[in-house]
Symmetry: none
Subunit: 278 residues, 2 copies
Amino acid sequence: MSDTTPDTAPPASMEEFGTRLTQVSDRLPKRLRQCADFVARNPERIAVSTVAELAEAAGVQPSAFMRFCQIMGFSGFSQMQRLFRDSYAQRWPDYRTRLENLKSAGNGSPSALLAEFVEAGRNSLEKLAHTVEAGALEQAVEVLAQARMIHLVGMKRAFPVASYLSYVFDNMDIPSFLHDRVGNLDHRHAILPGDALVAITFAPYTHETVELATYARDKGCALVALTDALNSPLHRLGATALMVSEVDVGAFRALSATFSLTVALAVAVGTRRNSRAN
Amino acid sequence: MSDTTPDTAPPASMEEFGTRLTQVSDRLPKRLRQCADFVARNPERIAVSTVAELAEAAGVQPSAFMRFCQIMGFSGFSQMQRLFRDSYAQRWPDYRTRLENLKSAGNGSPSALLAEFVEAGRNSLEKLAHTVEAGALEQAVEVLAQARMIHLVGMKRAFPVASYLSYVFDNMDIPSFLHDRVGNLDHRHAILPGDALVAITFAPYTHETVELATYARDKGCALVALTDALNSPLHRLGATALMVSEVDVGAFRALSATFSLTVALAVAVGTRRNSRAN
DNA sequence: GCCTGAATAGAATATTTGTTCCAGCATATG
DNA sequence: CATATGCTGGAACAAATATTCTATTCAGGC
């Protein structure tokens, strides 16, 4: 075993990290123990702080913190930080290589394609847990629970989402109105004060959806948006926005995460409305 | 106003950031717009990545990303990152334990429900990879690739799936016919020999869907089924069946896995048809 | 109370990372 | 078509940050 070989391999996951932490933290000198305690208490800060900041917060010198990292099995602080950063948003989609993979590996084999979309779905779901803020979700539920009637609008790729919401609301005896533009009919005059509108649109944003949302806003209706990015036009309208961005495979996106969010929203609204009714 | 004074004060919160982003993102040159779009879609990465990483992921040069930061009102990337790091630290506390805690607590909060459905979605996707047979998928793709026209039928919970397929096929210039029963009109006579029908139904199976599938079978059409169990009535009709069962949360099921399968199927069909056409 | 080993603090160094600058290129304008 | 304006890419520079080194302190054994 050469000089540079570490005693143990570095933890590869948060679980391993936790295991190792409990293992070593008993036989640790004073300062190193301070580090261990601090990290155990504030794991969230590792990803976004510098050694100097963490050392000060833990009440030790930067060099002590470095030693702690090495005792944990890492080569240094940077390696340890990488673990924490990666675990924050596990395996980001690398669009460029993903696209290449799709072209080379996905030479037309449907199973390979399915595997891609399954993985994209899992990544999207993981991301969903990070991007949806509890506060916004809570507010959306409250708004929809109080609405006299819930209007739904979504075109193109968003239409399945709108129609699904319509289905679930219907099953829960919640009054809803799906603006599906059948026959190119415009039912905007059904939107009355006291109602709420759920507008669903993803980039490139459908003009009709945004337009209807604007109308509803002007009518004094509450607005809930299901959209995919911070710069969605629905944000400008002051909507309570829930963000869900799907990981794409090539030029295509599934709706896996969107539907998880959608059903959660619907069920939460239904539960709250029913508990109010009694 | 001196040279170093920025045009506007830097955004002090995520809300302000979003507002400013929508304000500027309309009149932005190509590369800067790439930055804006990327940031809008992946805000969670800002806190834990370097400019170089973000720039590469967005497909621009680091210097372009810097210019974007300045246009957003920050002095540079570091200042912008600080905003995201701070908001990250606030959100983290419930991150690691969010899934387990909220689920076990079952306190009925919307976030808890979302966590449940996220978990259910992940499990469904995992199952999907095992339950869908490569042979059946391959056959389904082949059948649909050869069809003159693809008919789609799905009611109630399955309707979003059918309408989504319709959307994707349309985008790929594949002739398709969504049997949506608008106006209670029955378009079964549009189903002609040489066509194929994709029938989507889950337990309890919708009678109309099965009925239409039977009609199409009798007409000599190929049948592809998206269903949830071996004993689905569509199996009896000799359909090429793709099975996807969603994990349920209480009495409710999302459609996460179903949509991954659906888009994979659609893209595979589209790819094959187009390669034939050339 | 001195000696020996580990532990520590602080400074010095190396590396990474952010930031700026400028020349070339594209695009709009008269 | 010529000019001016602004955008872009890449490299050079500056700042920050991680990492290492060494003198000093501390704790325990003889």
